[in-house]
């Protein structure tokens, strides 16, 4: 079996659905869309069993770009790191495709939807399977494109079209930095192949390494919606909810985390960058969690929650606990996809209503959905023994150890505080949506195509912790520790008991506080603190008015004043001056011979005089 098959399957699905749009029956479009990803998942399952994966199974496809000293082929690489991602992408991706077949059932642009979704899966697979940083970047930008297309899927809504554009542009800002970092790397290391970057990392100048990794991380802040480039993700909720689950929670937004794991030889060696990554991650985690606390749109709560959880993953990468970060990426994919699909089920039942002020009392009519959401919420809050507990606990444990009592302890504290806030906001969301009061209208439970993916993800959210639990032999962590060449973290000096207990304790406390605050009908607004959170700690007005407004004004001024008056004015002015000079010179041509003779004489005298007196 060829590795390229994994990518080729969804790519073929995209082509069929794109070219057949309008001609394929709904059934055929759905079968192609869902089937191609299902087959890709099966192919991935088969591929990761292969023995060569342990040392990296590489397939070079063709020579892509060659100019001067720069030579690069396009190929795929399946190793223990990309194996995790491939399974998450195709596995969770498949579940969400199935769900979509039900959720989008009534949409007239069914083919187009699956075409985009398949293209996304193919692009994401290029991202995670690319064997060079440039191939990764191809996937990196293509998933951005798919995100744009899917956020703006209902393009007749101006808000959706604007949100898609915003996502693309903000991502592009990060991508420009990424591009520069990649070029700097290519020129200083002489290669962009992952297999050769490890040895090249040692030869780079420390300053260059720091600059390169910081630029690449800047790219990650765009793709993974971290400070300061997080603003596009909440708006991305304009897209269909399964898209939010797949792209804007489970897979694409984790690309930045994956990129750092992929380039771990560089990030580990760099002097300043890991600290920056950890601080940005921790700051984003708390920042976004506080904003999630004051949202009324259920999907936006989940969006800010995603930003916050991605912050945890970056925190882990920054303290070089990379297996822990990848573990959280995996469990987060399960429980966040679950939460989104449950939210989608709510929307489906309520005719598109997602404002929690208009929801409530859905626990009784929507049993599956409620159970799904609650399991996801508990996993997110880090309640043992659900999946989120193991991964979040591990990250905080590692960050505490990494700080060694130094200033980096602040990062751990931020993480701990976030764990508390997380539990509060998700409890609030659960209570406002499913508890308190009577349901409006006649909500109906989702069809089986939507229920089963929720059920499977719920099971994964409960049991996924086994991937990293000592009791279960930590299969995922052992594999990744081997990949990152860390000695297996045996509990020689097991972390102190209080450290292991404090994280779930923060979560449980948060749940209690959240329940106490929000179980009544009238939800408290948190006073002035709530206003601060609503204003994104002051960043929202800064972005909207100063940066975006300012740029627009500069553009308009350049176009109206500089372009038309100054530059073109100078050109037309010059032309006018030439014409005027011509007009003036024309007067010399009097037509009278006597004038010409006089001028001739004067010239001769002047020349002679000059020549004589020289």
């Amino acid at each position: 079996m060829n590795l390229a098959l994994i990518v080729a399957l969804p790519l073929a699905g995209w082509l069929l659905n794109a070219l057949g749009a309008g001609r394929l029956s709904r059934r055929a479009a759905g079968l192609i869309g869902v089937g191609s990803v299902g087959l890709a998942f099966a192919a991935s399952l088969a591929a990761v069993q292969r023995p060569e994966v342990a040392s990296g199974w590489r397939v070079v496809l063709w020579e892509w770009i060659a100019a001067g000293d720069f030579r690069l082929s396009f190929g795929l690489l399946l190793d223990r790191l990309s194996a995790v991602m491939v399974l998450v992408v195709t596995g969770v991706g498949f579940l969400i495709h199935v769900y979509s077949a039900g959720y989008m059932g009534g949409d007239p642009a069914y083919s187009r939807y699956f075409a985009y979704l398949n293209l996304f899966i193919a692009s994401m697979l290029v991202l995670v399977l690319g064997d060079t940083l440039l191939a990764l970047f191809v996937g990196w930008e293509l998933v951005g494109l798919c995100s744009y297309l899917l956020i703006g899927f209902w393009f007749d809504r101006p808000s959706a079209a604007a949100a898609g554009r915003k996502a693309f542009v903000v991502n592009r800002i990060g991508d420009a930095a990424f591009l520069l970092g990649m070029i700097f790397l290519a020129l200083s290391a002489g290669t962009l192949e992952f297999s050769r970057l490890a040895e090249a990392a040692g030869t780079l100048a420390p300053a260059a390494l720091t600059v390169i990794t910081l630029l690449l991380f800047a790219g990650a802040t765009g793709k993974s919606a971290q400070l300061p480039l997080y603003t596009w993700l909440p708006d991305a909720m304009e897209g269909p909810t399964p898209v939010s689950a797949l792209i804007h929670a489970a897979t694409m937004v984790t690309a930045g985390v994956y990129m750092i794991a992929r380039l771990h030889p560089l990030f580990t060696e760099a002097a300043l960058t890991p600290t920056v990554v950890a601080v940005v991650g921790a700051a984003t985690a708390l920042f976004a969690a506080t904003i999630a606390l004051v949202q009324w749109d259920l999907k936006r709560v989940l969006a800010y929650s995603t930003i916050s959880q991605l912050g945890y993953m970056f925190l882990a990468m920054g303290v070089l606990a990379m297996p822990a970060g990848m573990f959280h990426l995996t469990t987060h994919a399960f429980f966040k996809a679950l939460l989104f699909l449950a939210a989608g089920s709510v929307m489906h039942a309520m005719g598109g209503v997602i404002d929690m002020r208009r929801l409530g009392g859905l626990a009784r009519p929507l049993r599956w959905t409620t159970w799904g959401f609650l399991i996801g919420a508990l996993a997110l809050a880090g309640v043992p023994p659900l999946a989120g507990f193991f991964s979040k606990d591990l990250i905080l444990e590692r960050s505490f150890e990494a700080a060694r009592g130094g200033p980096l302890l602040a990062v751990w504290l931020l993480g701990l505080l976030t764990a508390f806030v997380t539990a509060v906001y998700i409890t609030r969301a659960a209570v406002l949506t499913f508890g308190s009061g009577e349901s409006h209208g006649h909500p109906h439970e989702a069809p089986p195509l939507m229920r089963w993916p929720i059920a499977v993800l719920a099971v994964l959210s409960v049991a996924g912790g086994a991937l990293g639990a000592y009791a279960a032999g930590r299969p995922l962590l052992v594999s990744l520790e081997g990949f990152f060449e860390l000695e297996a973290h045996e509990p020689a000096a097991a972390p102190a008991l209080w450290l292991r207990l404090i994280t779930p304790a923060a979560g449980l406390l948060g749940i209690a506080v959240g329940y106490a605050l929000y179980r009544g009908r009238r939800a408290p607004r948190l006073g002035w603190l709530g206003t601060v959170f609503e204003q994104h700690w002051g960043l929202a007005p800064l972005y909207d008015r100063v940066i975006v407004g300012g740029a627009k004004r500069i553009g308009q001024d350049l176009a109206d004043v500089i372009e038309l008056r100054v530059i073109d004015g100078a050109v037309n002015g010059l032309a006018a001056a030439v014409a005027a000079a011509g007009g003036a010179a024309r007067r010399l041509q009097t037509g009278y011979v006597r004038t010409y003779a006089a001028v001739l004489l004067a010239g001769t005298v002047l020349l002679l005089g000059y020549w004589l007196l020289r």
């Binding site: 770009i65 100019a67 520069l180 176009a559 073109d568 050109v571």
Partner: protein, 500 residues
Amino acid sequence: MRAFPLLSILIFLPLAGAVVVALLDRRREAAVRWTALAGALLALAAALVVFWRFAPGTAALQLEEHTLWIPAAGIGYHLGVDGISLPLVLLTAVIMPLALLSSWSAVGDRIKEFSVAMLALETALLGTFLSLDLVLFYVFWDAVLIPMYFIIGVWGGPRRAYAAFKFILYTAAGSALMLVAIIVLFLSSGAAGARTFDWAVLADSPVAMPLQAWLFGAFALAFAIKVPVFPLHTWLPDAHTEAPTPGSVVLAAVLLKMGTYGFLRFLLPLFPEATVRFAPLMAGLAVAGILYGGIVSWAQRDMKRLVAMSSVSHLGFVTLGAFALTVEGLQGSLLQMVNHGISTGGLFLLVGVLYDRTHSRLMADYGGVAALMPRFAAVSLIVVLSSMALPGTNGFVGEFLVLLGAFRAAPVYAVLAAGGVILSAVYLLWMVQQVFHGPVAVVQRAKVVELSARELVLFVPLIALIFWIGLFPGTLLSRSEASIQALVERVQRVQVEVRR
């Protein structure tokens, strides 16, 4: 034995087509149109033969034709193709039939004259790219102006007279200086009787320095106006806005490349020392153009003006790559010339499709077009993405190589130019949103109908090229590699000497 004059045939095939068209009865419009198209397609076939006969891996001139034209004045008829001219010849040959095909709906009166002008234009363009004698080059270079002047001035929009006049005055001013420089170059090429206008001879022994700098200036000005390099660009938006669709397509896709081709063909080899001296200036102007063009594009309301300003930004990348003076930069620059031809030519075709339907170029007059013309929306998106240099499309490879080469020359160029990467997404997606998205708000809704088969044919080759070059750029890069390598080696040898 005289070799088969393939290049001459290629150059003059369109002109022959023009003669045939001229002999046709003007009332037989279909015959006029098909004959003109056939002429352009024959030229494309000839260009493909050239491509097929072209041997990669050598910097030498190929398929050369060399006879004396005016021996007394040292003027020769010298043609040849190398890795630098080959891509542009192909680009010209691909774009012209498409432009002619687009004229079937865009041009309704004096079809015969229009077709003759277009075919004559193609001959002049091909001649410009294949001439290796400075006088011959100059003749073709200026010959381009004449049909283009009429295309804008006769078949253009309401302000066509102003635009055509501005176009011809602005570019002729540059050409005049270049003519003076060509003559000076001739006079300093040797003793009386041994003087020459031949490019190959002149490139072998560049003139000495202060004079070289002046000649560089004269040539550079002529080329920079044509490109156009910021801030010499203001003729371009007017010319584009007023020109009919096929005129805009050829103007953007091919005519502008005469300037950037001139950088590679003449500035670098004939004036290497001056090039090294002034490269920072040119690169600086290129970066300024990338950013300025991008920002100003964003503020446009007229689609054609937007695309025209975006050309200033994109050609900034081409110029930057050229004056990075590295192999990657120059390869990227050359590839980006082709890419810009495909993507911006495509963008003008897209605007033409809309203009044919509603006779408006203002974005405010559109909205929700994607719902009315889904296939057109998909085609547009692909072309836009190519213009945005999305990986997988042609634009990415060129832009990446330019940035790589520029970074190698001086990181600051690449850092600033990366701003253009962001800006292209800003203004192009803004246009897409205004035209295609939102509720249907087109002024003349009934006229906005899906692409016809003829219109689809316009875009199929462009889309195929967008993906082909994006995935397999080696097709072009491998053929230009040797020529670019040789060029860079020459310049870098001088660069080392200048640094000492």
